[in-house]
Symmetry: C2
Subunit: 259 residues, 2 copies
């Protein structure tokens, strides 16, 4: 049997790596991952063959993982966060699908046993860090227009607005791309108050973590980068201050039954 | 210092409980949780005082956790999944907010140190179990109209449809409530193909887990219960079969660059 584990290693804190992920990595001889993620995982990655490809080489990385597993090496394809959310897992199945349709030439891929192991995603780490920002219906939108046309993304932000979903923006900015988050802000301002709380979380759960809570009308591309995750509350989300601690929570309902 | 940990224990599999959650539970003297969750956690809960309240007593449970912590007992409030997603975390902060506004009479709550620890949510466990269903923008909608008016929920399902989000339905059915998922299906059928893949996952990652992949037009309330999570793909999600394994994935983009 040939085995490929597709593993989400969580946001960064090694105490947020699940035992299931750690055990799977231990069972592997070969790891395919962007180097930084392996650094975060630490000792469990020792004595394994590491295969790295530059950021941007995602398809190559997924193919490499399938090829290694097909060659009989127990292999882990690893990303930070949840590998099923804006990450590598879906590429593995896109490639498998191509093979099943006869559009690729790697029949050995079809014999690989695949197991996907979920991880804590950035939106969850951010929401927990400030309290309970995802306490009611929410959505995620990637602002990367590399593979999705901007018109589709823009339509989706309007839907997030009309549905009053809490919105977590992934890939809010890159080296070549900066204006999208400002446009997203302006769209959401058509649907919810200017005072809506926004979380700007950078390097969540890592040593150089920074957290800012601002108002929606203060959100600006200048204050974020590619290590940032941006979550925007819904129209009922509350920013509260208790002494030196600040929290954001989204009430679980629209009718209050509390006191 | 008085300490309250607000902990998501993941979907059920004890290997999906993070070390951070486990360490926090170990540091506590008192645990507040629905009994079943403690059973799933196992030995780590031994030698702790257990405080249980019936399902439905969520506010009482959150108050009890704050009271215990305020009295000097290091306390954990625990739920399955991610406690920040349709679970208890947001109630803790709603109560804190009431106190800050002077609408409650528990000033000692304000001295409690609160730490929220996220966990793997059911949508993630389900998506991983069938491959990569959450591979592109997604949303969650709770079908419980106990605290949210049905008109708000219905509007949100329309937004999920118009935005072509993958949709994970939480609380799809309860003992007293069964028609909502059928209405949700009919709304989504206005926006995406009848053949859209749907995951029906019951007791995910637990001993009696069951997984079914059906078409959107086959989704029916008779086939789900309150232990079920329902995820509906977007218009591009694919259901593929490789021998005895079935997968669902959602491509990460709308323009294909694959082969």
């Amino acid at each position: 049997m040939t085995q490929l584990f597709v593993i989400g290693a969580g946001p960064g804190d090694s105490d947020l790596v699940t035992p299931k992920a750690r055990n799977a990595i231990e069972a592997c001889s070969d790891l395919v991952a962007y180097g930084l993620y392996l650094d975060l995982l630490g000792d469990v990655c020792n004595d394994k063959a590491h295969h790295d490809l530059p950021l941007g080489e995602e398809i190559g990385r997924a193919k490499l993982a399938l090829d290694l597993a097909a060659s009989g090496k127990t292999t882990a394809l690893i990303s930070s966060g949840d590998i099923g959310i804006y990450a590598m897992a879906t590429l593995v199945f896109e490639l498998l699908d191509q093979q099943l349709q006869g559009k690729a030439d790697n029949p050995a891929w079809l014999d690989v046993e695949i197991e996907v192991i979920p991880g804590i995603s950035a939106m969850q780490a951010g929401a927990a860090r400030v309290g309970a920002m995802l306490g009611h219906d929410f959505c995620t939108v990637s602002l990367s227009d590399l593979l999705t046309p901007w018109e589709t993304i823009e339509k989706r932000i309007h839907s997030a607005g009309s549905g009053d979903f809490v919105v977590s923006f992934y890939n809010p900015k890159s080296r070549k791309r900066d204006w999208q988050i400002n446009t997203a802000r302006d769209i959401l301002l058509q649907y919810r108050p200017a005072s809506t709380p926004v979380l700007i979380g950078r390097q969540l759960t890592r040593e150089d973590e920074s957290i800012r809570i601002i108002r929606l009308d203060q959100l600006h591309a200048d204050d974020i980068d590619m290590f940032t995750m941006v979550s925007v509350g819904n129209s009922e989300s509350r920013h509260i201050v208790n002494g030196s601690r600040e929290w954001v929570y989204t009430p679980r309902g629209y009718r209050k039954k509390l006191v």
